[in-house]
């Protein structure tokens, strides 16, 4: 997969996601599934270094700001780390591709971030340092949920699901997805 050209917004590095997964571990976070994303830090070694340094400590102070593009195609998360390392970067989620990751993030309010490059797979980089973030509840969450709902409808329409069957299909999908993400490894 070709890496998209990364740019900076207000001098904040914009990082795309190269891989994502759900991680479940017994006796960790009550066994709940935690979303894990590998962000492309090829051009931003300072972000990679910050993640490596932060991964070695048990606690830290971080501020988060959610955002979206005007066309709601992308949802952004600005991570402003204050301690142990001061750094600011933006993670860009594609609304249609990372729908499931965003949904689990909103449910669990937890997120693993790992530094990597294009082509990295989580299964091959299990030992890489990562940080577990606890995301606070914000008013923007309802907006994210609306965007995800619209993307869900678009996805099913692309799969040629008829308009009259759309509601039933979405209901069935939600029931299956919610039962899957509600599982705990206990």
């Amino acid at each position: 997969m070709k890496s998209k050209k990364q740019t900076k917004v207000d001098n904040i590095p914009m990082l795309t996601i190269v891989s994502n997964a759900l991680v479940m571990q017994k006796n960790f976070a009550d066994g709940r599934p935690i979303p894990l994303i590998i962000i492309d830090t090829t051009e931003y070694t300072e972000v990679r270094r910050a993640i490596e340094l932060h991964a070695g400590t048990n606690e830290g102070e971080v501020n988060f700001t959610w955002g979206r593009t005007k066309d709601s195609k992308y949802i952004t998360l600005v991570v402003e780390a204050i301690s142990p390392v001061e750094i600011k970067y933006m993670i860009v989620f594609e609304a249609n591709m990372h729908c499931s990751v965003l949904d689990v993030i909103l449910k669990t309010r937890l997120l693993y971030i790992q530094a990597g490059e294009v082509g990295d797979k989580i299964s091959r980089k299990l030992d890489s340092p990562r940080i577990l973030f606890e995301l606070p509840i914000t008013d923007f969450e309802s907006e994210i949920k609306q965007i995800l709902e619209k993307e869900k409808v678009k996805s099913f329409k692309r799969m040629n699901v008829k308009k009259r069957d759309l509601k039933k299909v979405i209901k069935g999908f939600d029931a299956e997805w919610n039962s899957f993400t509600a599982k705990r490894f206990k």
Partner: protein, 189 residues
């Protein structure tokens, strides 16, 4: 018809009265502004006298000993009294917000032997002076059976003082400390 253009004494008196009235009007406006500032200050002093608590969770972990029937949930908290008056914390409640809208409230543990000696206990009741803070550790216990049944989403700690004022903070991730879970070596024959 002849119109007199000379200024009479009564005109002078009227002009002086008008100037004084305008001066009085400005003076009254200035007084009203000062009175408003004094009112705002008094209001702030009055509100500062009310109980106002702030709670922060500094650290937390679940102590899970395989040989124990109960699990212990530890919270390191800092309570700040932002009021001008002293108060006393009378209650610290932990609520486990679980799936399917279940809220479980474990009780404070009185068991001493597994309490880490280096962790200072947050005593209840705890007196707090005006504009002061106090830090300590709370320990709650949950039976293993219940802990395995419930799926906890959020841990919410709420403190309440003698005036009924509450402050709360929550934690989504609480690390688990496992004890006596080592894999036993098989006896070699």
């Amino acid at each position: 018809m002849v119109v007199s253009t000379s200024i009479e004494v009564s005109d002078i008196v009227a002009m002086i009265a008008c100037v004084i009235s305008i001066f009085c009007a400005f003076f009254s406006l200035w007084q009203a502004k000062t009175a408003k500032k004094a009112y705002d200050l008094q209001k702030k002093i009055y509100l500062d006298g009310f109980s106002h608590l702030e709670l922060n969770i500094r650290d937390s972990f679940v102590y899970d000993d395989k040989n124990e029937e109960k699990l212990f949930i530890f919270f390191g908290i800092v309570v700040n009294n932002l009021s001008d008056k002293q108060t006393s914390i009378k209650k610290c409640v932990l609520s486990l917000l679980c799936e399917e809208d279940v809220i479980y409230k474990p009780s404070l543990s009185e068991k001493e032997d597994c309490f880490y000696k280096e962790l200072s206990k947050f005593e209840i009741p705890q007196n707090l002076g005006a504009h002061s803070s106090h830090a300590g550790w709370l320990k709650y216990e949950v039976s293993r059976e219940i802990y395995m049944k419930i799926n906890i989403n959020t841990f919410v700690v709420c403190v309440e003082d003698i005036h009924g004022v509450r402050a709360l903070d929550n934690a989504v991730f609480v690390r688990e400390e496992l004890h006596n879970y080592e894999i036993e070596k098989a006896n070699q024959s």
